[in-house]
């Protein structure tokens, strides 16, 4: 008798969980992980690359710093920045900065990330963040979203690439200015900025 009651209670609990899972697919503000504060050391992590090989953050660091950009294959805002991201990669390589792309979208598989990069001419290393673990760790919510680590691996900038989706109305090249300051050994004056973007498609 007791066993059957326990089973009934267990099945009832399963039903409740099933309801909750079906009914909910978004996140309230309190669900989202908070990003690390400027100055926080970002711990090493390893993710598979779109190229199939595994890469650690440590192996991808630039001498003067590392630029991590959360990107997407399908988001028009992120795609609108493809050329600019590639240009930052090319312009700042010689200045000791490396650019890494991270795709955390559960809706965009690795094969798609790889073909998208080839098609769009993105030559920087792109990592696939299955289960959005690194997006969670860094509190990333949208694409594109930028994190810059300094030479010591501390977060020095967190925000946007620039202040305008359209090239002709850019008045503030926030990411480049931050990189130039870091490269000159100065503190970053403007450590971030908000911009519209597609939300990262997290696993529920």
């Amino acid at each position: 008798m007791k066993k059957q009651y326990a089973l009934a209670i267990f099945l009832g609990a399963v039903l409740i969980v099933a309801f909750a899972a079906i009914a909910g697919s978004g996140r309230t503000a309190s669900d989202l992980p908070a990003p690390p504060a400027i100055g926080t050391v970002i711990d090493d992590f390893t993710l598979p690359g779109a190229d199939g090989a595994s890469h650690s953050l440590a192996s991808l660091k630039g001498k003067n710093g590392t630029v991590i950009i959360f990107i997407a294959t399908k988001c028009p805002v992120s795609n609108g920045y493809n050329d600019r991201m590639e240009k930052v990669f090319e312009d700042y390589k010689a200045k000791g900065f490396n650019v890494i792309g991270i795709n955390s979208n559960s809706t965009e598989p690795a094969a798609e990330v790889k073909s998208h990069a080839a098609e769009k001419g993105l030559k920087f290393t792109i990592l696939k963040d299955d289960g959005n673990k690194i997006a969670d760790r860094l509190g990333a919510n949208r694409t594109p979203e930028v994190y810059v680590l300094d030479a010591k691996g501390k977060l020095a900038y967190h925000g946007r690439i620039d202040n305008s989706q359209k090239l002709e109305t850019i008045t503030s090249n926030d990411l480049r200015e931050a990189l130039d300051e870091l490269g000159a050994g100065k503190a970053v004056t403007k450590a971030g900025g908000a911009a519209f973007g597609c939300n990262i498609k997290r696993v529920s």
Partner: protein, 198 residues
């Protein structure tokens, strides 16, 4: 004689699965009603900050957005803002729920404005096309700003610009509910109900 619980357990499970299937398939069919004007502080929002392109969607700039957010003591209605774009898939997916919500709360004292972040070149094409498909009834404006940051910050200090984003303000202009990503309709409705009762 042993009493077998397996039959009622199977019954509850089946009931649960049927309910879940119904929940997952909610469809809306609202007849297209005329677009309501945007009323702020008892006056239609108009003037230099809003450019009318003759379609149902009007353009606003940062000042227009600030006007929408301004509350005066007399308008006790809560204000619901949903930020979306035709290029944002979850925004498109949640839209039918928002249309349904607008229908249900229009006469219950909710001020609901949907704010599109589409490109200004789509204000007469893609945006009204989508709204017609959705049979949208709420007023929609398109926010056109050069720098997104001041607009994002004036809406809510914790918002980083991700879309979709939904904010509910009380009559004092305080954010009493916010949600990033697709809305959970029940959660949003509960928050609105709470404000309307005040």
């Amino acid at each position: 004689m042993r009493f077998h619980l397996s039959i009622p357990i199977a019954g509850v499970l089946t009931l649960g699965l049927v309910c879940a299937a119904v929940l997952a398939q909610q469809k809306t069919s609202i007849a297209r009603a005329p677009i309501t004007p945007i009323i702020v502080n008892g006056h239609p929002v108009d003037g230099v900050d809003i450019t009318d392109y003759g379609s149902d969607v009007r353009e606003i700039n940062l000042d227009g957005l600030k006007k929408i957010l301004q509350r005066d003591g007399n308008d006790k209605r809560p204000l619901l803002l949903n930020f979306w774009a035709t290029w944002c898939d979850p925004c498109r997916e949640e839209f039918p729920d928002l249309v349904k919500l607008d229908g249900d709360y229009k006469d219950k004292g909710l001020n609901f404005i949907a704010i599109s972040l589409d490109d200004i070149t789509d204000i007469k094409s893609e945006v009204p096309k989508f709204l017609n498909q959705m049979k949208a009834t709420m007023p929609v404006v398109l926010l056109n700003v050069n720098d997104p940051e001041p607009a994002i910050k004036v809406v809510d200090a914790t918002w980083d610009g991700q879309l979709p984003a939904t904010f509910l303000y009380d009559h004092e202009g305080k954010v009493v509910f916010k949600h990033f990503g697709k809305i959970k309709p029940d959660e949003l409705r509960a928050a609105i109900d709470k404000e309307i009762k005040k």
